[in-house]
């Protein structure tokens, strides 16, 4: 594993405007390098990075598809990163989010969707995802970047944390809402979306969330399969971005996020070093020698 070699020239090639190929290859470079080896130029023109997360079965991919449609119809250029878990056994993955979004994308050449597998530790994927999002920002080709993750575990929280706006998608029924709270997602969320809002229990769930969250946190409802509430959600995202940009809060927010990102990457780096050491034959020999010596000296 080494640092990406080609990113600058690929970005330049992308700038010549001949399709998505160069950008896609740049992403591969970044994806295939450990995040601590990736160094990208600073972002001059920040783009709103929105994380869409929450427990499985909440219809996130469908909602993301609808959001893409809503943004694109409003004339915004959309980039999407969809993260799916890698199999812990084989290391492979079936990246199924693109499929779930596709019906809303039929024929759209102007939307860029890239699937990423979680691959390693949550720090590594979080760092990698943020770097890829940074690449998309640097490309100058997007007005909004959506990051969609599946699940409510540590990895998803780590990835979501690094976005400017974190939308937690849940469904009616208090059980799921409680699960999300337990997972720590509630703490990082900037907006909570109750999807499948045509199901029974929606008003109760919304009420409960507003009470529990206790702060000034917007809770909104959608029926992604029908597109209901999606425009309102997009408006909420835009409102928040406008707010962050206007009152100068964005740089401070991003600094905090960078610190968090650095911590996650440091964690990932430490993990990688430890793995390397564990697998090192020299270590095994050294440990064996120590144990043999100890056995020799302190035989009972």
């Amino acid at each position: 594993m080494s640092a990406p070699t080609d990113v600058a020239s690929l970005l330049a090639r992308h700038g010549e405007g001949r399709g998505w190929g160069a950008l896609a290859r740049a992403i591969t470079q970044v994806e295939n390098s450990p995040p601590w080896l990736v160094s990208l130029p600073p972002v001059q023109r920040p783009v709103h990075v929105v994380g869409i997360t929450g427990p499985p079965g909440a219809g996130k991919s469908t909602l993301t598809g609808r959001l893409i449609e809503a943004y694109a119809t409003a004339g915004a250029r959309v980039g999407v990163l969809a993260i799916d878990p890698s199999s812990p056994i084989s290391g492979g993955a079936v990246l199924g989010d693109r499929l779930r979004m596709e019906t809303h994308l039929m024929g759209r050449d102007d939307v860029f969707v890239r699937s990423l597998a979680s691959r390693g530790s949550h720090g590594a994927i979080a760092g990698a995802t943020r770097n890829v999002a940074r690449l998309l920002e640097l490309s100058g080709s997007f007005d909004v970047i959506l990051i969609e993750t599946v699940g409510a575990g540590q990895t998803e929280v780590a990835i979501a944390e690094l976005a400017d706006t974190i939308a937690l998608v849940t469904v009616p029924g208090l059980g799921d809402a409680v699960q999300a709270i337990k997972a720590g997602l509630m703490e990082v969320a900037d907006i909570v979306v109750v999807n499948m809002a045509d199901r029974p229990g929606t008003p109760e769930t919304v009420r409960h969330l507003r009470l529990t969250l206790g702060r000034d946190l917007p809770v909104t409802t959608t029926v992604a399969t029908e597109g209901t509430g999606v425009e309102a959600l997009r408006a909420l995202f835009d409102e928040r971005w406008a707010g962050l940009s206007a009152n100068g809060a964005l740089p401070a927010l991003r600094d905090r996020k960078r610190a968090r990102e650095a911590a996650l990457i440091a964690e990932a780096w430490t993990r990688a070093c430890a793995e390397e050491i564990e697998q090192s034959p020299d270590l095994n020999t050294a440990v064996k020698e120590i144990l043999e010596e100890a056995a020799r000296r302190w035989t009972i």
Partner: protein, 560 residues
């Protein structure tokens, strides 16, 4: 010497420990854990003990009587043989009409039609994107004009026709009726089927258009329409064939199919229609796969389970509602590209299972199945296969010949039990639509397909010519594969343009408008309006587009 009078019981334990063990010492068992193709374990031997819980009168009965385990009719093939019904469809209507006549001339006794992908999915031949699929795997039908040509010279009052169509079945059903009507043939004389089982599309064949709920209501529309206007026609053919070929087990095939049948009838009941009015015209379509005895048992189990469901669950009182009539097709997925002539043997064995299982109608696949749609020469062999079974094998002279076999009765009961259990689980989920939308059904099928692939690749299962006895032989014995005519698309598009030019646009527009106005009212029967649109020469695509605009489109499953 054994004293038969003082040793009445069979001592299977002793037999196993002494005789069988000794046999296996000499020659070890061929298979470690013998099981049916679907994974049901097969015991060392079956004896009366294995059928102890089975009651001869209550569970097995007599042919033609509830619960119909032994067959839906008393005389079975000693009276009327099963219908030889080979599916045909390619090119334009005239091309398929030619194949119909060929098959009838060679002794088939019922027609069955395959439609091309645009038609199956409710698109017209002049659709900008799908032109390349016109007429390739089935016949292109855009309007009732094509339907007329399809059945040109065929006496609809005498020949039973099956239309293998699902999502737009309502349209094709109306077309069939209108063709007959315009020829002066009363609806009451028409016999045949529209497949029209939309629920299996979402999990197996993927030829759906609209979401499940309105699609099921459309099926109810056709069933009610059929009961009124074509009372000898079967508007619904609940299918296990595709589910099985998609990879399911025999038990899943039975359970998902019967659950679908129940779903349609219960939806009808929710609309205030008495199931007894519709159930007698619900027919079934089963796969016949490689495991001969499992397939025979499966057909018997399905008949008995349906009869019980109809009588006890739906409380139908008409015996014709309890009675399952079935068409079978030999398994397409079981046929190989390697040494294709072997497929004739496979198909013959599978066909025999359908006959022993008591089918009313049968399609036998052709040896070139793995490459293309059937050539004339190959389909002729498939027809002859059925005729040889009927006239030479003696199988048709005995009613339910395997009835009473310890193994077959025990396996029949087991399949029935497990299928009933799976249906109960589906009920717990809220019914078949819920089970489909949650991905449950698709996941079970995908998992089973995966297991079968593993078994094949690990050589736990043998497929002759593929992972055993293989060579480079791909010969079809001189039979030339079917080649689709590249000119079909252009000709069909031209014909469609002609029809559009010569029809009365206002009448079409009005009919479509009226359909759109009521489509959203799920319990409103749309068939009269669809029929009017068809008479006005509206196209399959135009009618489906109206329904698309009201109901939306269903997204494909994402289950692996």
């Amino acid at each position: 010497m054994d004293d038969l009078e003082t040793e009445p019981a069979l001592d299977v334990q002793r037999w196993r420990e002494q005789r069988l063990a000794r046999d296996y010492e000499r020659v070890p068992p061929r298979r470690e854990q013998p099981a049916t193709l679907s994974g049901i374990p097969i015991a060392d031997v079956y004896t009366p003990a294995d059928v102890e819980g089975i009651h001869p009168a209550r569970d097995i009965g007599l042919p033609g009587e509830y619960p119909y385990t032994r067959g839906p009719h008393a005389s079975m093939y000693r009276g009327r043989p099963w219908t030889i019904r080979q599916v045909a469809g390619f090119g334009q209507a005239e091309d398929t009409n030619g194949r119909f006549k060929y098959l009838l001339a060679h002794g088939e006794t019922g027609l069955s039609t395959d439609f091309d992908l645009p038609t199956l999915l409710g698109y017209d031949s002049d659709h900008e994107i799908y032109r390349r699929e016109i007429g390739k795997i089935g016949v292109a039908v855009d309007t009732v004009v094509d339907m007329h040509a399809l059945f040109d010279g065929i006496p609809l009052e005498d020949v039973s026709t099956s239309l293998t169509i699902n999502a737009p079945a309502a349209v094709l059903l109306a077309m069939y009726r209108v063709v007959a009507d315009e020829r002066g043939i009363a609806g009451s004389r028409l016999t045949g089927t529209t497949q029209n089982d939309i629920l299996k599309e979402y999990t197996a064949q993927n030829e759906f258009i609209f979401p499940p709920v309105p699609s099921v209501e459309l099926v109810v529309d056709t069933m009610e329409y059929g009961a009124e206007v074509m009372p000898r026609f079967n508007p619904l053919n609940a299918c296990g064939y595709h589910i099985r070929d998609a990879g399911s087990t025999a038990v899943q095939e039975v359970a998902f199919t019967i659950a679908a049948g129940l779903c349609y009838l219960e939806a009808a009941r929710d609309r205030g229609i008495d199931p007894d009015r519709l159930a007698p015209r619900v027919s079934f379509f089963w796969n016949v796969h490689n495991d001969f005895l499992e397939e025979v048992s499966k057909l018997r189990a399905a008949r008995r389970l349906w009869a019980r469901m109809m009588r006890e669950r739906l409380r139908c009182t008409d015996p014709r509602s309890w009675l399952m009539r079935a068409h079978c097709q030999t398994s397409g997925v079981s046929l190989t590209a390697q040494q294709p002539i072997n497929n004739v043997a496979r198909t013959a064995i599978q066909a025999l299972a359908a006959v022993f299982g008591g089918t009313q109608s049968l399609h036998t696949n052709s040896l070139d199945e793995a490459f293309a749609i059937p050539s004339e020469a190959a389909i002729k062999i498939a027809v002859r296969t059925q005729q040889i079974i009927l006239h030479e094998s003696g199988a048709a002279d005995v009613v339910d010949p395997l009835g009473g076999s310890y193994y077959v009765e025990s396996l029949t009961s087991r399949i029935e039990e497990e299928a009933a259990g799976l249906i109960a689980r589906i009920d717990d989920m809220g019914g078949m639509i819920a089970a489909i939308e949650s991905g449950y059904v698709s996941q079970l099928i995908a998992d089973s397909a995966w297991e079968q692939q593993l078994a094949l690749e690990r050589d736990e299962r043998t497929t002759v010519g593929v992972n055993a006895f293989s060579d480079d032989d791909r010969s079809t014995g001189g039979i030339e594969l079917f080649q689709s005519d590249p000119g079909v698309a252009e000709r069909q598009i031209a014909r469609l343009a002609d029809v559009k030019r010569s029809r009365e646009e206002r009448r079409v527009a009005q009919a479509l408008r009226e359909l759109e106005a009521v489509a959203g009212d799920l319990h409103h029967n749309r068939m009269p309006l669809i029929e009017e649109a068809v008479r006005a020469r509206a196209t399959v695509g135009e009618i489906c587009d109206v329904l698309r605009s009201v109901w939306g489109e269903y997204r494909p499953s994402t289950v692996f």
